[in-house]
Amino acid sequence: MKAYSLDNVSALVVDDNRFMRTVFVNVLRGLSIRHVAEARDGHEALEELRSTPIDLVVMDWEMEGMSGMKLLETIRSGKRGINPLVPVIVVSANTIARNIIQARDAGMTEFLAKPVSAASLYARIVSIIENPRRYVRTGSYFGPDRRRRFDPDYVGPRRRVEDRQRTSLDDLDAVGRA
C-alpha cells in the first residue's frame, strides 16, 4: 500500500461516544492529519460541515438523537450550505447486511466495521483516494455510484428500468418477426 502524506486533509469525526471519538482522532492524527474536528452528534456535525471546509467525514452509524442515516441523508441533500460530495466513511459495529445496505443507499462512500484499527481506517482512506467513484443523481438517490466496477462483458440479469424496457421491446420485435 502507498504511503500518502495527509497533512493538508481536514477531517471530521462524528460519534456520540466520547472514547470512540478519541480513538478516531488518535488514529487520524497518527496518520498525520493535522486538522481533525470532532462532533458529538449530528447537529454539531452539520454545523461543523457548514462552517469549515471538511475533506473527509468519519461517522458512527448508530447515534442517539440524530441517527447516522439522517445525518448522511442531510449531507447528501446539500442543504444548509453543506458540500454534498464530501467523502463519508460510515463506521459501525453492526454488520448485519440490512444495516450496510441502508448506509450504502443513503450515500456512504466507504463502510468500516468496528472494532477499528489504524490499518483498516487507513485502507478506507486510500480506497477513497485511489478509487474515486463518480456521483449519481436519480429521483431517489444521490451519492457515489453504488456500482464499484464496470464490466463490459457482464452477462447477468439487467435490472435497470431502461434495460427492462429495451428487453421488452426486443421481445416484441422478436414476436413480430416470428
Binding site: S5, N17, F19, I96, P115, P132, E162
Partner: protein, 166 residues
C-alpha cells in the same frame, strides 16, 4: 415515452481528497500505520477502566431485563447500547473475544422479534460470559477457553433457533 424515462445525472471526479494528498516517495505505509496504531494503544489504560465499568453497568441492566414489564424494556435498551459500544471498542484494545460475545448478544437481541423469558436466558448467558472474561482478564481470542465459550454460546443460539424461538 422518452419523458417517462428516469433521469440519471452523473457527476465525474468530484473527489477533493485526491488533490490534497501526495505520495510519500520511499516511505512504507506500514511504518505510518504502526505510528497511528501506537497512538491508539496509548488509550488502552483508559479502555481497561471503561471495560470494567461497562461490565458492571451491563450486569445492572441485565438485572432490570430479568425483572420483566416496563423495567425489562428500559433495561433492554440500556443493555443493548452498552453491549454495542463494548463490541465496537474491545477488539481495538486486544479483547477480540469480548467483541465476539458482545456482537453475538447484539445480533441475538436485534433479530429477536420479542424478548421473553427464553430470550432473557440466552442474553444472560452472554452477560455471564463477559463477566467471566473480565474477572479472568482473558485477552486475545482466549485460546481454547475462548473457543469453548464461543462454541457454547453458538450451541445455545442454534438450539434456540431449532426450537423456533420462544
Amino acid at each position: 415515452m422518452a419523458d417517462d424515462k428516469p433521469k440519471v445525472e452523473f457527476i465525474d471526479n468530484p473527489n477533493p481528497l485526491r488533490s490534497k494528498v501526495k505520495v510519500k516517495a520511499g516511505v512504507d505505509a506500514t511504518a505510518m500505520i504502526a505510528h497511528a496504531e501506537e497512538s491508539v494503544q496509548k488509550l488502552s489504560g483508559e479502555f481497561e477502566t471503561i471495560f470494567a465499568e461497562s461490565v458492571t453497568a451491563i450486569a445492572s441492566a441485565m438485572a432490570e431485563v430479568r425483572q420483566g414489564g416496563m423495567t425489562r424494556e428500559r433495561g433492554l435498551v440500556r443493555l443493548r447500547r452498552l453491549l454495542h459500544d463494548l463490541r465496537g471498542q474491545a477488539g481495538t484494545f486486544g479483547y477480540p473475544l469480548v467483541s465476539q460475545v458482545g456482537d453475538s448478544a447484539c445480533k441475538f437481541i436485534d433479530l429477536s422479534e420479542d424478548i421473553g423469558d427464553t430470550e432473557v436466558g440466552v442474553i444472560g448467558m452472554h452477560v455471564d460470559a463477559l463477566k467471566a472474561i473480565s474477572q479472568a482478564r482473558i485477552k486475545g481470542d482466549g485460546g481454547p477457553i475462548g473457543q469453548e465459550l464461543m462454541n457454547g454460546l453458538r450451541k445455545v443460539i442454534l438450539k434456540y433457533n431449532t426450537a423456533g424461538g420462544s
